[in-house]
């Protein structure tokens, strides 16, 4: 059996840096160093585990993003993915999630797939809806937000821990899945993996290759507009006391003062 797995990954500004907005109210990508979204490492990990358990499986990592996004692909390749596809086009700047799902869906179809694996959300935009949109566009089942996933006999099965219930979900391939950070720690690239990644193929595509018009994406193609972005005022420093036996009482008095007790 062969299994073609495509993992969608995003190159994001490091969450531990001072992230901010550029003048056009898109994410400022120059202000902070970028990296492979940590939540997508879980997707790469699960894809690799599924591939390792399946004969003739191939893992392709896919990203749509600026030139630097190649770093994210390189990281995924060094973890063990087989090849990479990078969709890069100046017209992509400012694309919203609906536009991004169009680009990725076209690219996934271009690559050929049995299973698409995504992270649960990006660590910058954080909407968490791209996998569902991909499934809608590709017209295949979505099996998303999984804390556990496995593939056998042409079916994908997983556990979804929702707000109201835990569900076991199952769908026939081809399908789109997304995995959470509960799905299992991602591996670190080994030295051998890092060296091997340098020789792995990276295919570059632009919008024309995917038959997408510039108007369908970018800021102009977006169906939402950000009107303003305001830095939240820093919280004013409160009172800090050192516990010398009275800490609990002092805290209770503070809470009582604010009518919580």
């Amino acid at each position: 059996m062969s299994l073609r797995i495509v993992v969608c990954v995003k190159y994001v500004p490091d969450a531990t840096g001072d992230r901010s907005f550029a003048e056009d109210l898109t994410t400022d990508r120059d202000a902070v160093d970028g990296l492979l979204s940590e939540l997508d490492e879980y997707a790469v990990e699960q894809a690799l585990q599924i591939a390792e358990a399946t004969e003739g499986a191939e893992v392709t990592v896919l990203t749509a993003g600026p030139e630097d996004a190649a770093d994210a692909l390189r990281k995924a390749l060094s973890m063990g993915a087989d090849k990479a596809v990078h969709v890069e086009d100046d017209d992509l700047h400012g694309t919203d999630v609906l536009g991004t799902s169009l680009v990725l869906a076209k690219a996934v179809e271009h690559i050929g797939y049995d299973l698409v694996v995504c992270g649960m959300a990006s660590t910058d935009g954080g909407m968490g809806v791209l996998p569902a949109l991909l499934a809608e566009r590709l017209r295949v089942p979505q099996v998303t937000l999984l804390s556990e996933v496995s593939v056998a006999d042409g079916k994908v099965t997983g556990r979804r821990d929702g707000d109201a219930a835990t569900e076991r979900l199952q769908a026939s391939l081809p399908a789109v899945v997304s995995v959470t950070d509960q799905s299992g720690e991602a591996r670190y690239p080994s030295f051998k993996g890092i060296m091997a990644a340098k020789k792995k193929p990276v295919e570059n595509l632009d919008l024309e290759d995917l038959d997408i018009e510039a108007e369908q994406v970018g800021l102009a193609g977006a169906a939402t507009a950000v009107l303003s972005a305001t830095e939240r005022p820093a919280r004013t420093a409160g009172e800090i006391v050192h516990d010398e036996g009275e800490g609990g009482k002092l805290l209770a008095a503070f809470l009582a003062g604010r009518k919580f007790v």
Binding site: Q142, A223, G238, G245, A252
Partner: protein
């Protein structure tokens, strides 16, 4: 009259509080029309009416329970086509966001997720969201189609605004995608008897500093004295000390209670993402340099095993 669709979040007809908040927000934009999918519309209707629903469009079918999510998208789309709404409001759960996204794509509409406020504007509703771990607040507007907006819990105070709430049958034809993902089994989450984390007015959270599953009783005792929900950091969840459903942060729940109390939590950016818009924040941590202290209105540097039980006792004593 302008109508606004509100997707009802419920368990067998028991409506969850965020839905009532959505009805209250929807009234700013038009007449709320509630969409109730699955059993219990007769139980839900009076509550929905009490909070402003002029109509309740109800559909029940085995597909809603047997197959995942897409049947609900088909039904919400049927309501969309029948009503021609000015906006669609959906609760911001994982499922709510995915339903909203697919509806937006199908109807050629713009999507806003995780709004914390929504107000009418000259060019359609203006939404407010948090960005970058709540370091920023942004406002947005949908520029194409009908705004589809998911709204976070605690974004408004539910107001009584009695309306007719007439129950009408919603006719739904399921498309070919509806049966793609089977729900093989479903185990409802057991109630803890404490307030729901995302909806609670007070949240008491424990982190790695709590040290073990057993010691979480210290956190629970304080929560019970305050009538609070219990939260946990990812470190505590990953260690297996507390269930993931209680995780606060980027990959857990976002909470915005009146009071957030963090014990044995350092205050990493991913944790802050889930709690920094809380009204009052207090922390107990033995490390005076812990970043959580940058956020607090009141902080105690000390051992949580001394401070928290003493606090619990004092609260009980004050309550008499």
């Amino acid at each position: 009259m302008t109508e606004v669709l509100v997707l009802v979040d419920h368990e067998n007809g028991t409506v969850r509080k965020p839905t009532l908040e959505l009805l209250t927000l929807a009234r700013r934009l038009g007449d709320p029309v509630a969409v109730h999918l699955g059993p219990g519309a007769d139980i839900a209707a009076p509550v929905l009416a009490e909070h402003g629903a002029t109509r309740v469009l109800a559909a029940d079918a085995p597909e809603f329970a047997d197959y995942h999510l897409v049947p609900k998208v088909d039904a919400l789309q049927a309501a969309f086509d029948a009503v021609g709404p000015a906006a669609v409001l959906v609760p911001s759960s994982g499922e709510g966001k995915e339903i909203a996204a697919r509806l937006a794509l199908r109807t050629g509409s713009g999507l806003v997720t995780d709004a914390v406020d929504i107000a009418p504007g000259d060019d359609g509703p203006v939404t407010t969201q948090s960005a970058f771990a709540a370091a920023y607040s942004t406002t947005s507007r949908v520029t194409r189609g009908v705004p589809v907006v998911t709204v976070k819990p605690n974004s408004a105070t539910p107001e009584a605004a009695p309306a007719a709430g007439t129950v009408e049958e919603l006719a739904v034809t399921f498309g070919p995608l509806a049966t793609g993902t089977a729900v093989v089994s479903r185990a409802p989450r057991e109630s803890t008897g404490r307030p729901e984390l995302a909806e609670a007015a007070i949240v008491v959270s424990g982190g790695r500093g709590v040290g073990s599953a057993e010691s979480f009783s210290v956190i629970e005792d304080l929560a019970d004295a305050l009538g609070a929900a219990v939260g946990a950091s990812r470190a505590a969840v990953d260690a297996g000390w507390y269930p993931h459903a209680h995780q606060v942060g980027q990959t857990g729940k976002t909470v915005s209670p009146q009071l957030y109390l963090a014990a044995g939590i350092s205050g990493a950016i991913q944790h802050r993402a889930g709690m920094q818009t809380s009204k009052t924040i207090v922390a107990v941590n033995k490390d005076a340099e812990a970043p959580i202290f940058e956020l607090v209105d009141y902080g105690v540097v000390g051992d949580l095993f001394a401070v928290v039980p003493a606090l619990t006792e004092e609260i009980k004593a004050r309550k008499g």
